[in-house]
């Protein structure tokens, strides 16, 4: 039920993805979803069952953090943490608090990342899922704090840490505080790593700027979803700087894979299986039988 509600909410953001009622007179708005890539129309419910991947062209739709959790984790194993943290307006930017509040109501999240514990095929992990529907997934103090606490929790529980990144980068309205979250999350990851614990980063569309240039890129294993946009600087900035046309696939997951920046590009339908295997192979003294 909650998921259906989410989808009705989301159509406000993804106008192009939901067909207008006049184009589908016989079905209520939101029941069908149009692929922004190939224009194929799928029953929203069916799309949900497919993990929000277009059955025609394989386009990976954006997921909300909660959809990602449902798709990835064992049923009802997930328990969120730190939902009570709230962003302040440290630089007193006009309208900032209202924007955060509005996105919070829209997404049902306290900030642009959802964190917690849960299991994948019975194996316990700490997971963080960024949500680009919340201030474009940008990282301010609360996002940095929640990720840092999640990493610390994984260190304490001696379990793997997984993060799904989706972010436009730093949260401008928090100024240098947002920049420093890159360092804060990094010191926590170093401590987690020193304990011999596994960190898997899964880069989803889009992962850019300060998030790309911190935790997203330093997993023991870095995975990405197909076609995800991943990069440090924005395409337009680069084009203005180098004054040359960039290749079509520039800064896509496949481009990064070809340039040695990723371990693998993994289709969403294989993600749970892949992560489960990776986690399993990092259990001390254990491997798959046969």
């Amino acid at each position: 039920m909650a998921m259906i509600r989410d989808i009705f909410k989301r159509k406000r953001d993804e106008k192009e993805a939901t067909i207008p009622s006049k184009a589908a007179k016989d079905v209520p708005e939101g029941l069908m979803t149009k692929c922004p890539n190939c224009k194929h129309i799928t029953l929203t419910k069916e799309l949900e069952n497919l993990g929000k991947v277009c059955p025609k062209c394989d386009h990976h739709f954006k997921m909300t953090a909660r959809e990602r959790i449902v798709h990835l984790m064992d049923d009802s194993s997930f328990e969120s943490v730190d939902d009570h943290l709230k962003s302040e307006n440290p630089l007193n930017f006009p309208g900032y608090s209202e924007k955060v509040q509005a996105d919070s109501e829209k997404t049902g999240l306290n900030e642009a990342v959802l964190t917690g514990t849960g299991s994948i095929k019975g194996q316990q992990v700490v997971v963080a899922v960024m949500d680009s529907h919340f201030r474009m997934g940008s990282m301010g103090s609360v996002v940095g704090e929640k990720i840092t606490r999640a990493v610390e929790l994984a260190t304490k529980l001696k379990v793997p840490f997984l993060i799904f990144t989706a972010s436009g980068g730093a949260r401008m309205q928090e100024g240098v505080l947002s920049l420093m979250q890159m360092a804060k999350t990094s010191v926590a990851l170093k401590r987690h790593s020193n304990e011999g614990l596994l960190f898997v980063s899964i880069l989803t569309h889009p992962t850019t700027g300060g998030v790309s240039a911190s935790f997203a890129s330093v997993g023991d294993i870095n995975l990405a979803e197909p076609k995800a946009l991943i990069g440090f600087a924005g395409r337009r900035v680069i084009e203005q700087t180098v004054r040359e046309k960039l290749p079509e696939d520039f800064q896509t997951a496949e481009f990064l894979l070809a340039h040695g920046q990723l371990d693998a590009v993994v289709h969403r339908s294989k993600m749970r299986e892949t992560l489960s295997t990776i986690v399993q192979l990092h259990v001390k003294g254990a491997g798959s039988d046969v």
Partner: protein, 321 residues
């Protein structure tokens, strides 16, 4: 005041005007048979007062101008004045040598140290060579190599930060700009030696932070540290780059701002009007700050150094719960 002709900044204009007036009067008295000495001396007093007013009350945008002054001393200017026996060490051992970052070994008051700093140029030719102080991944990887080397030999690492940011180019993306920066953040967190990061000019975003995960961050009085340039912030937030001056104030990017926010440990005073007025004197002030900070970190075990760095960055953030 320096004798050579120097680029002046907008906020200094009243001073320049007044100085011109004084020298005109002085010139005049040479040829005319009148005594203007009391007028001149009163103007000189006014000049001193005005100078104090202007330089003691610099606005964030004024500091941005000073931080970007073409004559502002760079890493290479300070090196011979602060350190001895500097030997530059090149290359990342993987791809190449990025001259937007220089690094090497030397001694600070008798103590071996590793020095790493952004390096921009002061003229077009030098800026082409140094890529305007905007590093590629190999620059960050060289820096990390030298930090690890310092760790092996137990010597402190001193980083001088002075960059508009990491280079936003095609090749930089292909070679993993994100990963290079991210890797430095994580690895600096674990360094078993004291690390000082000193912002000497512009501290632009992740490209600056990649040399910034120190036990202490120090900033020159007229340096900046920001997530985005004031121009960039203005164009994103208000769709108008001309509002950069407003953004410079709103974004809290100056050394006094960061000191107040508790992000940096110390602010290093600058010679009046900015470091470019007296590089040698400024180098002394930086030396004093390095001496003081190294003393503060002296006697800490490797575990203490790492956990102090952890606590420092762990504490940064403003939120409620």
């Amino acid at each position: 005041m320096s004798k050579k002709k120097m680029k002046t900044m907008a906020f200094e204009e009243p001073l320049i005007e007044l100085r011109k007036k004084i020298s005109e009067l002085k010139e005049y008295t040479k040829t005319a048979d009148v005594d203007l000495s009391s007028e001149i001396s009163s103007l000189e007093q006014r000049f001193a007062k005005l100078e104090e007013e202007i330089y003691e009350n610099m606005k964030p945008w004024d500091r941005v101008q000073v931080a970007r002054h073409p004559e502002r001393p760079t890493t290479l200017d300070y090196l011979p004045l602060i350190f001895r026996d500097f030997i530059e060490l090149h290359g990342d051992r993987v791809y190449g040598d990025d001259e937007a970052i220089i690094g090497g070994i030397g001694s600070f008051e008798g103590q071996p140290v590793t020095i790493i700093g952004h390096q921009r140029g002061k003229d077009t030719k030098e800026n082409v060579r140094r890529n305007f102080g905007m590093p590629h991944p190999e620059g960050y990887r060289k820096a990390l190599r030298l930090m690890k080397q310092a760790e092996k030999f137990g010597r402190p690492v001193i980083c001088l930060i002075d960059t508009k940011g990491a280079y936003p180019g095609k090749a930089a993306e292909e070679r993993g700009q994100s990963e290079a920066i991210a890797r430095n953040l994580v690895e600096m967190a674990g360094l078993e030696v004291p690390v000082l990061s000193i912002v000497i000019g512009e501290g632009g975003s992740g490209g600056a932070l990649a040399l910034g995960v120190g036990n202490q961050i120090l900033m020159l009085e007229n340096s900046t540290f920001s997530v985005i340039s004031p121009e960039g912030a203005a164009s994103i937030l208000w769709k108008d780059a001309a509002l950069a001056k407003t953004a410079a104030e709103a974004m809290k990017i100056t050394a006094p701002d960061l000191l107040e926010m508790g992000i940096i440990e110390h602010m290093i005073p600058e010679v009046r009007g900015g470091a470019h007025h007296d590089t040698a004197r400024q180098a002394q002030l930086i030396s004093g700050a390095i001496r003081y900070s190294l003393k503060e970190l002296e006697g800490m075990s490797t575990e203490q150094l790492i956990s102090q760095r952890y606590e420092k960055f762990r504490a940064i953030g403003v939120f409620s719960e």
